[in-house]
Symmetry: C2
Subunit: 329 residues, 2 copies
Amino acid sequence: MSSIKDVARRAGVAVSTVSKALNGYPNVSEETRVRVNAAVRELNFTPNLLASALSSKKTGRVALLLNLNTDTQAVDEIDMQYLSGAISKAVERRLDVATFFFSMIRSRSASEIADYFRSQGIEGVIIYGMGKEDSVLRELIERKEFRIVAVDVPVVNETTSSIQIDHEQAQYEVARKTVMENKGKSILYLSGRPDGYVTQERLAGIRRLAAEEGLPLLIKSGDFSEKKARELTFRYASGYDVIVCASDLMAIGAMRALQEMDIFRPVCGFDGITLMCYAGMQMNTVKQDFHQISEAAMEEMGRLLEGGSGRRIVPDYQIVRMKYQDVLN
Amino acid sequence: MSSIKDVARRAGVAVSTVSKALNGYPNVSEETRVRVNAAVRELNFTPNLLASALSSKKTGRVALLLNLNTDTQAVDEIDMQYLSGAISKAVERRLDVATFFFSMIRSRSASEIADYFRSQGIEGVIIYGMGKEDSVLRELIERKEFRIVAVDVPVVNETTSSIQIDHEQAQYEVARKTVMENKGKSILYLSGRPDGYVTQERLAGIRRLAAEEGLPLLIKSGDFSEKKARELTFRYASGYDVIVCASDLMAIGAMRALQEMDIFRPVCGFDGITLMCYAGMQMNTVKQDFHQISEAAMEEMGRLLEGGSGRRIVPDYQIVRMKYQDVLN
DNA sequence: CTGTTAGCGCCTTCAG
DNA sequence: CTGAAGGCGCTAACAG
């Protein structure tokens, strides 16, 4: 429980000098730096980050906002990957992380959330997969009080960066591959929840493919739900050659239905979740590396936080494009 | 960004009075309390928790330590439930949560971890499913520097509580039910990783059943792995009537194997994860409510943190027994 | 019941 | 290059 004061005494210097030495300021002689480090080691000193944050007004604290949906827990795998990616990078960059779920903020207003975050000393927020309907979050972004990195949401402004893979291209490619491999002549497409940004982009991808190849395309909203995908497959699969799903979970639902209908149709998914293996399914899919995406998001957050207060010509924000692999399981 | 000072000025009282009013101290007149609250509202004041923590030396910060294993991501569902349970309860009790993974600390010593936690202002730690081999965590517990709640680990001391379901009884019951329903005459038991505490307890449960009913029992270590369970099933299933697995994931592996072997054996699992549905499997299992268990853990943590520094006759620690349901899917 | 006064542990000008 | 001094925003005795 030794403080910077103890270290200063032990090293025979002033507290301010210790502070400078520890925070890597240039104007400290090599000799005193060594002395300070020795004292630190001897006293087993660990700086009190709370005090540091209070004094410097830099908390380095970032909130993670996860859209955990309680009905389809199976895709929690994705959120966990997001979490572990963000946290490991945060530790590396010495940032502090607080985790929240959409459910905890749905009932509150943007200003309430802002108050809450402010009181917690949160400087930045990483938002995972918000939808167009999440007006509270939109407002939070527009307030520009916090540095924000939005995953899978193409929104940027002076304090907001965005990060995602190229969903349009990815959807195009995986669908194309599946169609080609099976010489498909028509496509049934099960899309995600309507208010999702990625839903639109993926839709654009499948439309491009259909247009290019002149294939009949039926689009039905599956809401990212296995159950719904299953129902839609029962209803429409017989009329189409290939079933393209906007998520693996829906693909599972579709394959289930096909099994029961006892007909074969090639199916492809999206996301590349491990669950597929346990479900015993094999198909083409777009493998997203959620862990890595989240790492990149936290990395970007670090940048934004450093870029700090100073106004500059080059804008802070950017859209980061992550890679994906399209995989044949 | 108004501070307590502004509020004091606005309300025409001293800062200390504001502090008292806001923190619900009794010795504040109703009138001033109202004045203060008015000022708070007018200035849109939100207290700076960092400053408060620094001054009061009570951070209300608790670390969550999750044992995320990267190979079997499918069971991330459990960790996510743990997380959401702990976090929602923490918000309710106005505690602050920091999430960590075992992987981040395996490489460090107990004192390093303690330093790290201390510097982060962490007062309590909830540990999920540590094993007997996790000597670093044992040491962390024995240091008694932090309040600890251990989930699924029967360890208690002056600063440590423990919480879990009755694994022995649960394993006994679900196995018994499965055996009875199928008139089984012998049992193949696939156990969890040897160093897990719950592994031992569940083993005791199955042994009790076998002894009571006089059934031949073969125990094989499946390490909570689907793959391993599958292999073991291939090897030993033919000689036994019923397959009892210490986890749902292993049960999935076992059923897979049985399908391929094209023989029938009743199988039962443990945990009650949603994944089962997507895997298209139905079986008896013990349904643990991980969310609720974790809520209870955080609740207990709150107790420990309040129970605070004062020494008392009644010990802080306790073993909390959670309920489980044994379920027929 | 209310105000005054010290800090909490650290950072950060500003002199020297 | 180093030290002294003044906070950061809040809490906690201690007087009054």
